[in-house]
Assembly symmetry: C4
Homo-oligomer: 127 residues x 4
């Protein structure tokens, strides 16, 4: 493989985790996911910042994606410094110390992990 | 955080708000949304222009997204200078005085705010 | 408004129009659409080329999008030089003499024109 | 037509093929697809690399897309050097010796090949 593909900063402007048990459907039906691909030969140290409509951003949430690996990060699993609140609009910035590719996907747990939507995240103009 | 991420002009070529009560499904089942993320340390003054197939564009619709905040703007809520007509193809241009990121999402109200689709808007080549 | 936004050549790599009447669902349930936005002050003369897996491309299909207008073009409606065959993988190139923005959307007619998917088309690097 | 449109390296950060027969729905309900468009006048020699969360990438999977043709490649059909495991997160890199356009689409076989999602893949900054 050639040089690592991607950028070091990405944005996802849409995010929303529905709450449990408030409807006729199964209580928890979807997962917000940031699929991260690290094609470089170095581990990627990732920092995620969560933006809200009515208070300051929270973060960084820190995690690692090993060299030449992919990790599908579920926003529901981010717990430190604090869980992402349910029923709340949010957005996110993903930063890495090596180039990565980020794709935003929402999974529907009722359909064997079928995705409901997917879009590439937005890469910062400067790598 | 480093410098603000994004562009000052974005385009969404697809838009359609179905009318009320014309089918077996719940009358009003989806929301067209422009999710806007402002990572800068200044408030973003936003102007939205709506384009149609058969008449001149309408706008600007004006709103503000505060510094380091996200706002999920529902096209259904845009009222001034005039509501967006139902059952009508439209497109939109979103302009800001600071860099922003814009993601186009359609929510399905029947499924606890699950999204039906999502795509990054198209950024103008010149920032 | 400032200068026109977009590019003069766009690609959509995915396309498929299902045939009529071959299942329990309503016979014709979706529309492939290329949503075109022309923000310039000149009419856009559009040429569409359809690519196949096993024969030469067909086109150009010619149409116009007026200045400061949007047009949601259904591939099903393209008839000249020939209709797009059903149950067939295809892809498309959209060319314009002024900058435009192109978004690929598939509509589901069973749900009051809700979209099933949407993504920005791919713009050619050279405008 | 003018020069070929696209890039020679693309990334798709999301991938998942559900296993057979583990639910009330029809056993195999979706296809992960990389839709490739080759507008050049030369055949494209394609190499696909699959990335995982816990082991080294596998590849190359090799295939050809003829000049001025499109091919909708189903990841389920990739068999050499080994089939892509089911129920497993993966990502992919698609390389070509001529410029191509790549769109990631997931088809739902229960609905006459309707797509569940679609997004342009991410092009490498250097062509």
């Amino acid at each position: 493989m050639k040089e690592a593909i991607g950028h070091k900063r990405w944005a996802i402007a849409e995010g929303y985790i529905p709450s449990y048990g408030n409807g006729p459907e199964p209580a928890f039906t979807s997962y917000e996911t940031a699929c991260i691909l690290n094609t470089s030969d170095q581990d990627a140290n990732i920092k995620i910042w969560i933006y809200f409509s009515d208070r300051d951003p929270v973060g960084p949430y820190e995690l690692k994606v090993q060299a030449k690996r992919t990790k599908h990060v579920r926003f529901n699993d981010l717990k430190d410094p604090e869980p992402i609140p349910l029923d709340t609009d949010y957005a996110s910035i993903i930063e890495s110390d090596v180039p990565i590719v980020v794709q935003h996907t929402r999974l529907d747990l009722r359909q064997a992990e079928n995705a409901l939507l997917s879009t590439m995240a937005f890469p910062a103009a400067t790598n």
